[in-house]
Every structure is written in C-alpha cells, then in structure tokens.
C-alpha cells in the first residue's frame, strides 16, 4: 500500500470568503474512504480542488503527479454532465468518454451499463434524476483510474438500487485504486468504508480508520460522526 493522495497546506477562498483552511491530508492506495461533513462544509470543493476544477493555494499530489493536467489522468470524478445538451443520447456520451479518456475500459463500461440497466438510446432530457445518477456512476467507474471521487453519487437513486450499487462497489473498484465517497447516507455506506475523513470548521477535523472507530470508540461510524457535532470525540 502506497501513498496515493497527498494534500499539503491547502487554502481556498471564493468571493472573498474562506472555504478551506490549512488542509493537510494523506490517503493511501487501495482504500474506500468516506468524506463526511455538513452541507456547505467544503466536501465538494475539496474534490474539485483535487481534480483541478477549482484553484487553491497549496500542493496536491495524486500518484506522484502535482501538475493539474497530469493529476487529471489519475482521477475519475462524478461530474454532472452539464456540458451535454438535453438532446444528447447516452450512447454518444459513452463514445465521448471512450474517445477522450485513454483509461476508459470498454468491457467494464459494458458490464456497468448492464448492471445499472442503462438505456444507451435514451436522451439525457428523458432520464429521471435517479437514472442520471446511475449514468454518472457508470461513466465514472468505467475509467481505470487510481483515484475515484464520488460526490454524493446516490442522491436521486431509489433505496433498492442504492443498496445494490453500494454492495457492488468492491467489484467495480480496481484493487490498488482508492475511492473517496462523500455521502449523506452514512449508515448505508459505513459497511464498505476503510477510513473516514470529516470536513468541519473549514478543515480536516478528523481522519480515522473505520475499524479504529468501531473498536476504540465502540460505536458505529454514523454515531461517531454525529458525536463530532455534539462536542463529543474530536481527537486526531
């Protein structure tokens, strides 16, 4: 297991407002990490800084690459398809991904399309929110990346499908890659997490192993997470 993601002294402000301050973080390869925090805590911003979609001050290194263009080749992020018009057919989006991402894995993509029951002949505008979320998950996981950033990926998905996807995450994640998932359904993803990172007060408030929380604190991940907001356990 090696160091995959390293963030040093990261600061980010937007519209004269400080969003993240003095963020230091190291994540190893081969992990599934839960990125937790309240709405507006800066989880999405942190992911956008890692992908290079936002520009902060500090150093971010992914798989040894710190230049934005190189970093992008190691990161697969759940982007919300805002660049495609409603009339774009799903099949065309897959073709586009295949053409522009050298690490796009066609076999994996086909398996994901079958598993998530995605109809490639549909237009984007004809898809429900849940179907669109499934499409985003399929596109993100179709790449053979070192780091997957899933930003609230299960938002509009029904509970049955959500559980099905969460339970199959291990199947889709390449062994050496790391997956960072930000989600509000903490209980549902808790069972697959190796670590949790909590963003609070504009910085990384807590970075712990999931087993450590269960054994040392004798509580579930959701319970532990909630305790941070009740003025409870705030070590690390």
């Amino acid at each position: 297991m090696s160091e995959l993601l390293k963030i040093e002294k990261l600061n980010y402000s937007h519209s004269l407002k400080s969003i993240l301050r003095d963020v230091d973080l190291t994540v190893d390869s081969g992990k599934i990490v839960g990125l937790l925090g309240e709405n507006g805590a800066g989880k999405t911003t942190l992911m956008r800084l890692i992908t290079g979609s936002a520009h902060g001050k500090g150093v971010i290194t992914v798989a040894g690459a710190s230049k934005i263009a190189e970093r992008k080749s190691h990161v697969s992020f759940t982007e919300h398809l805002g660049g495609f018009s409603g009339g774009t057919k799903v099949g065309r989006i897959f073709d586009f991904y295949q053409a522009v991402y050298p690490d796009f894995n066609v076999a994996r993509s086909n398996s994901l399309v079958d598993f998530l029951q995605i109809d490639k002949s549909l237009k984007l505008s004809a898809m429900s929110k849940g179907m669109k979320e499934k499409l985003i998950i399929a596109l993100t996981l179709s790449r053979q990346a070192d780091l997957y950033l899933l930003d609230e990926p299960f938002g509009g998905i029904d509970s049955m499908s959500r559980k099905k996807i969460i339970n199959s995450i291990l199947k889709w994640k390449p062994e050496d890659s790391t997956m960072i998932i930000s989600d509000h359904y903490v209980t549902e993803i808790a069972s697959i997490l190796d670590e949790i990172i909590v963003v609070k007060d504009k910085t990384i408030n807590c970075h712990k192993q999931a087993d450590e929380i269960r054994e040392d604190n004798d509580m579930g991940i959701e319970e532990f997470y909630e305790s941070l907001y009740e003025g409870g356990d705030q070590d690390d």
Partner: protein, 259 residues
C-alpha cells in the same frame, strides 16, 4: 494523457453534427422560398441565387453564435475540463474545432451559391465583365478575381479567429475576476463587461466592414492585396496575444461551474 488529435476529433464530431443540422434547415428554407416564389409567379433565372444570398448571412451568423456558445461552455464545464490534457492543447483544440466547423459552413454556403448561380451563369459573367471594363480592363480577369476572393476569404477567417479569441478572453477574464468579488461586485462587473463588449463589437464590426468594402476593389485591382495581407497579419497577432492571456487565465484562475 489525452492527445490533441483525439480531443479535436471529439469536439469536431459534435459541432459537425450541429452544423449539418443548421445547413439542412438552411437548405430547406432556400427550397421552400424558391417554391413559394414560383407559386407567386415571380420565378426567374436570378431567383435561386437571390434567395440563397438572402438566407446565407442568417445561417452563417447562427453558425457563428452557436459555435461561440459551445466553445465558451466547453471552458467552464467539468464534462470537458476534467479531460487530462494541458490547457494550451485544450484551448487550441476547442478553437480549432470551432474554426474547422465554421469553415465547413462557409464552404457549404459557397457550394450553395455556385449551384444556385448556374441557371443565370452567363448573365453573371457579363456583369463581371462590365464591372472590369468600367475599371479599365478589357474583360473579367479570372486569376485576379480568384486571388481577390481568396484574400477576402483569408481576411474573413482572421476576423472570425480574432472575434473568438476576444470572446474567449472576455469570458475567461470575467470568470477569473468573479473568484475575487462578492455577488454584488460580480453583478456590477457583468454590466461593465457587457458595455465593453458592445463597444468592442461595434468597433470591430465597423473596421471589418471598411475592409470588406475595400475588398470589392480587389476583385478588379491587385494593388489592394498588400494592405490586406498586413491587416490579416495584425488580426492574427492580436488573436495570438489574446489566446496566450486566455490560456494563462485557464491555467491559474478559471474554475468550472460547480453543479
């Protein structure tokens, strides 16, 4: 990393589809207009070209606006900006894809002109000969006219490139500035930008129209060629400087729209 060629092809593919749709609508409009004119009893040999000349500026203007919107959207959406490629190659692939798509529309329109001119070809040649004689030549000088047309074409291309690099620069500069301004400041800045853009557009259009007016002389007089070449070079140098500043902004300040 993604290669320039792959990115260009992907950008071009979707824009090519867009432009084909636009040309199809253009063609339908031309055919319908000709049929309507025929039913109204106003049909003559000159009607096809007149109708084509009427619809063509609208089609090319819509193509320009459509490509400009697509281009600007590409700079600020994660769907494109997450692609692992340097900002320089990204910028150039985006600009080149729009440029080639527009060129395709212009060539298609030229083909429409030629086809619609066929029914009245001899009369148009007579008109050109008369124009040449008025300017002191024995007859219409085809090689000179081709050179002149090529020069106008090059000037038009240079104006298009400059227009896009200017739009890019204004858009990317305003996106960069918005990182540092509170929401009220952003609104004021947008108003200032709109005023500057309108002023700039009027100036550029005025200058371009002057050049195009002069270009009519080039069809019959080769002396204008040198001035034209100089104007094209100046346009392209300004475009290159604007492109360099835009790439710098993309590299350091421009953020995608958070969805």
């Amino acid at each position: 990393m993604t290669s320039f060629g792959n990115l260009f092809k992907s950008f071009f593919k979707s824009r090519f589809r867009d432009m084909n749709f636009l040309l199809m609508i253009n063609l339908i409009a031309i055919v319908v207009s000709i049929i309507v004119t025929a039913f109204q009893g106003g049909m003559s040999n000159s009607v096809p070209l007149a109708v084509t000349l009427g619809w063509s500026p609208i089609a090319t203007l819509i193509a320009f606006i459509r490509l400009s919107i697509t281009q600007e959207l590409t700079y600020t959406r994660d769907s494109y900006r997450l692609i692992p490629i340097s900002d320089t190659k990204f910028y150039l692939a985006n600009l080149a894809a729009s440029f080639v798509s527009y060129l395709y529309v212009v060539v298609a329109e030229a083909v429409f002109y030629l086809i619609s001119a066929i029914p009245n070809w001899s009369e148009y040649m007579d008109t050109l000969n008369t124009m040449s004689m008025i300017n002191g030549r024995a007859s219409f000088d085809a090689p000179n006219a081709i050179m002149g047309s090529l020069a106008i074409f090059c000037l038009m291309i240079a104006i298009i490139v400059l227009a896009w690099t200017t739009i890019n620069l204004i858009h990317l500069a305003s996106r960069s500035a918005s990182n540092f301004l509170p929401s009220t400041g952003r609104k004021i800045m947008n108003v200032v930008i709109y005023v500057v853009v309108i002023w700039l557009v009027l100036r550029v259009v005025g200058f371009a129209m002057d050049q195009l007016r002069n270009s009519v002389n080039m069809l019959i007089n080769a002396n204008y060629t040198a001035n034209f070449a100089l104007n094209i070079v100046v346009f392209l140098v300004v475009a290159a400087v604007e492109a360099a500043v835009s790439i710098y902004l993309m590299n350091n300040w421009v953020e995608t729209i958070s969805e």
